[in-house]
Amino acid sequence: MSDTHAQTVSFVRESMIPQSEPPAGNRGAVLWMRENLFSGWFNIITTLISLYVIWWALSHTMPWVIRGIWDASSLTECREIRDATLPEGTSAACWAVLTDRWQQLMFGFYPRELYWRPVLSLIIFLAAIAPVLFPHTPRKALALTAISPFVMFWLLWGGSVWFPVSVALGFVLGWAAWRALAPLAGTLIASIVAAALPIIYWLYTAGPLARELEQAVALSIEYVPSQDFGGFMLSFIIGIAGIILSLPLGILLALGRQSDLFIINKISVGFIEIIRGVPLIVWLFTASLLLNYFLPPGTNFDLMLRVIIMVTLFAAAYIAEVVRGGLAALPKGQYEGADSLGLSYWQSMRLIILPQALKISIPGIVNTFIGLFKDTTLVVFIGLLDPIGLSNAIRASTEWNGIYWELFVFIGLLFFICCFSMSRYSLYLEKKLQRGHN
């Protein structure tokens, strides 16, 4: 400003006034409420209706939850405590059933003194899966991931250590055969031998070898039969085994479905469509009623193993479709680029296509896993004691006859926590994997 101007104008403010807050109605919580809850008559009505719904739901459930009785040994005792301490006609949850039976809901009839074994397996599983889920962990840890299934198997079922070891040896054998033959005879022959050798080994050598080693050095822990498994432990075992085993199979099926080879393509399509077209419960009944028909006479093996096989096949078909989506989402230039470098089919898949396709598919795979984990509750219909099966068993006991809601709330809450956190993880991945373009 010039000096002349300052003299001609009678009053000029020489300093800026400090910035002032917006009026009370236009800031903070009030503004937020005005914009989000009361912006118009329609909005006001919906807000009031929602408030009524929330109040109605909470007022019917919260007193029941909060007044809940935690210390009793049976439902009758619960009711006596309620009638003695609370005014007549009030309802109260009987959470005592959870304090009394939570171990059963978690572990089924697994021996109490051995609970550390499933817990330790879960910790091993979490440690083993970390290198897969989070890219910052060192790559060397993947070797531990490869051993962990055998360790977990041994911890859960117990028995001689040599059985899982001799099974694992089969994989080593296949790998060694491939490494030895591939440079000499080409990949096709090498992969056929690498697939056939372990199967022959498992069929004829693995059993006797384990028995011999057992007699030489007896290394065993207490054996727990599958019938004693139950509760959330069972859901976790079936779900995790299903997803881990189905991943490789699913990827192969997806590659088969994308393949140009007519027969391979049709076999994959047929397998995927047949498995996906029929509900899991029908497959589970097939596993429990029919599997014995399809195997050589006299074979009879564990129901839980049969369920895991069926669940694996079922999940593989779904994962194949997820991975196929990932394969289809890759631009065609990636395939052509790999070909132009002169890479063979498996090289281009391993080095170029699958790393990108799998990365895109991880959220879908996690969603499949959530679905599979929820579907493990269906095993109750073929007589395995999953949480719902155990809740029926608890309800059938004299102490807790007639208890419904407390068990449902507990089981539902645990499933919710597991599935919700997994779905958040897949959302996090989806956000992280989005590269540019937005």
Binding site: N43, F262, G277, V278, I281, T377, Y404, F420
Partner: protein, 508 residues
């Protein structure tokens, strides 16, 4: 993969089968085919060996045998003397019933929740988020069991509906929710029901032509005809007029009540007092049967109900002595009535084309009306709410996928918000919404096999459950069951593919 190599210099050498990419794919396929065939023949030979060891054979003759079990919910005639094949059919219809009902409700719930989750109202959006996440992350089996337990444990017993009880019917005494099921009014069909249906069908056709005409007029002249109001009017007015007209004319006609062993002009009360038992012949779900029953109830007469096919069947039953009282449409010549049956002094009204009978509290349970079993209701609600949560996410994603520029462009052209939604947003969003929605329908249909949890008699419980247990034909039963589900899902997914190829963006 397209890999080319040099042309072979010499003729064909066997090693080319492995090392030459042109022949290798053939080798691989032949090996895979042989492996598949070996695997299949291994399975089949095992199965044959196992079946013969058990002394079983493989045939579907059991479908023609007598089933010998009852099914508490059936859409077609069935009793324990029917065959296993018919039991399977009843189960299939029950599965399809729950699938259709479930898909309809799931769509309504899902679309509402999906749209509301995008609401500007924070509270509503959060409430819908709680619903969606809650249902998506808890196994559907748990929801089915929970709702079934709610229906059976937390609802009043029928006797609570008596005077002084603490339960009451809802919606003007038409619906009763009890622990034995939900009782709703049942429709009864009277004279003119066929005409009414015909009028309704004709008005549907008229709606189709009206909409086509309106669209054509708009395209040719730019004049916009009221499509919505026209549709609504055509849907309601002709049917309502026909209903009223039929009700005023044929509905008011009275018809005599005929009885054997009575004297001409006797009252019903006197007749009932003179007889030991009263067996009434009537066509099920006809207004005659309804009005006859109402008449009997109003005079507190106890009677047995004999179902017959039609008026001729009723007369035959009367002659055979299966029943001793019936009412016939006035059009039937009274001369054809067998000797010994005479008209009582009481008459009944012919009835409207459609009448509804309300459930009323009888001795131990509600009588009349339709009983929707708890198993059906629990399965229906749980499947719909569960699938609805997934559909809500599809709907939300579909609406979000239409970019904001589309709305803004439509506004810039001066198109009204409601029309923008209908003509610009929805057609683009539906392309994204419908394919996953159809696969949700498929999931719902497959999940309906969880009926086992509540004892609903679907195809898995009849064909795949009791029939297998009774006949010991696991292999055949499971095969048929699997085939049914497979065919259903293939039909649904081919419908989806058809839709997909129709709405696919036309690209180069």
């Amino acid at each position: 993969m397209t890999t080319t190599s040099d042309a072979p210099k010499a003729g064909f050498r066997p090693s080319q089968l492995i090392y030459d990419t042109r022949y290798r794919s053939l080798t691989i396929q032949v090996i895979a085919f042989i492996a598949l065939m070996l695997g299949l023949s291994w399975l089949v030979s095992n199965t044959i060996a196992n079946l013969s060891a058990l002394g079983k054979d493989f045939d579907f003759g059991f479908l023609g045998q007598r089933a010998g079990y009852d099914i508490n919910q059936r859409l077609i005639e069935y009793d324990s003397a029917s065959t296993h094949g018919r039991a399977a059919l009843v189960g299939i219809l029950n599965t399809l019933l729950i699938a259709v009902l479930g898909c309809a409700l799931a769509t309504v719930v899902g679309v509402l929740a999906g749209v509301l989750r995008l609401s500007k109202n924070w509270l509503v959006a959060k409430l819908m988020a709680v619903y969606v996440e809650g249902f998506r992350n808890i196994p559907v089996l748990l929801w089915i069991l929970l709702i079934f337990a709610l229906m059976t444990e937390a609802t009043p017993q029928p006797r609570d509906f008596r005077e002084g009880g603490d339960a009451s019917m809802i919606l003007g005494d038409t619906i009763a929710i009890t622990n034995r099921g939900v009782f709703i009014p049942a429709p009864f069909w009277g004279a003119g029901a066929g005409i009414l249906l015909a009028v309704f069908l004709v008005s549907l056709v008229a709606i189709f032509f009206w909409r086509r005409y309106a669209h054509r007029t708009q395209e040719q002249t730019g004049r916009i005809l009221p499509i919505g109001w026209g549709t609504l009017g055509l849907l309601i007015v002709p049917t309502a007029v026909a209903f009223l007209a039929l009700g005023m004319t044929s509905g008011r006609v009275t018809q005599p009540v005929l009885a054997t062993g009575a004297t001409e002009g006797m009252t019903l009360t006197d007749y009932a007092a003179s007889q030991q038992t009263i067996n009434a012949c009537a066509v099920p779900f006809s207004t005659e049967s309804l009005n006859l029953r109402r008449l009997m109830r109003s005079q507190e007469i106890r009677f047995n109900y004999v179902a017959v096919e039609d008026a001729a069947g009723a007369l035959a039953a009367l002659e055979a002595g299966n029943c001793n009282i019936l009412s016939l449409p006035a059009s039937v010549d009274l001369a054809t009535v067998p000797a010994g049956a005479v008209a009582l002094s009481d008459t009944i009204r012919r009835g409207m084309p459609v009448e509804f009978e309300r459930p009323v509290l009888g001795g131990f349970n509600f009588e009349g009306g339709l009983q929707l079993r708890n198993s059906l209701i629990a399965l229906w609600l749980a499947l719909s709410l569960y699938t609805g949560a997934f559909i809500a996410e599809n709907v939300r994603g579909g609406i979000l996928s239409v970019s904001k520029g589309q709305t803004e462009a439509a506004y810039a052209l001066g198109i009204k918000p409601s029309r923008t939604m209908r003509l610009v947003i929805l057609p683009q969003a539906l392309r994204v919404i419908i394919p996953p929605m159809i696969s949700q329908y498929l999931n719902l249909t497959k999940n309906s096999s969880l009926a086992i949890a509540v004892g609903y008699m679907d195809v898995r419980s009849t064909l795949g459950g009791i029939t297998i247990n009774q006949t010991g034909k696991e292999l055949e039963g499971m095969l048929l069951l699997g085939l049914f589900y497979l065919v259903t899902s293939l039909i649904i997914s081919s419908a989806m593919n058809l839709y997909n190829s129709r709405v696919k963006l036309k690209e180069r």
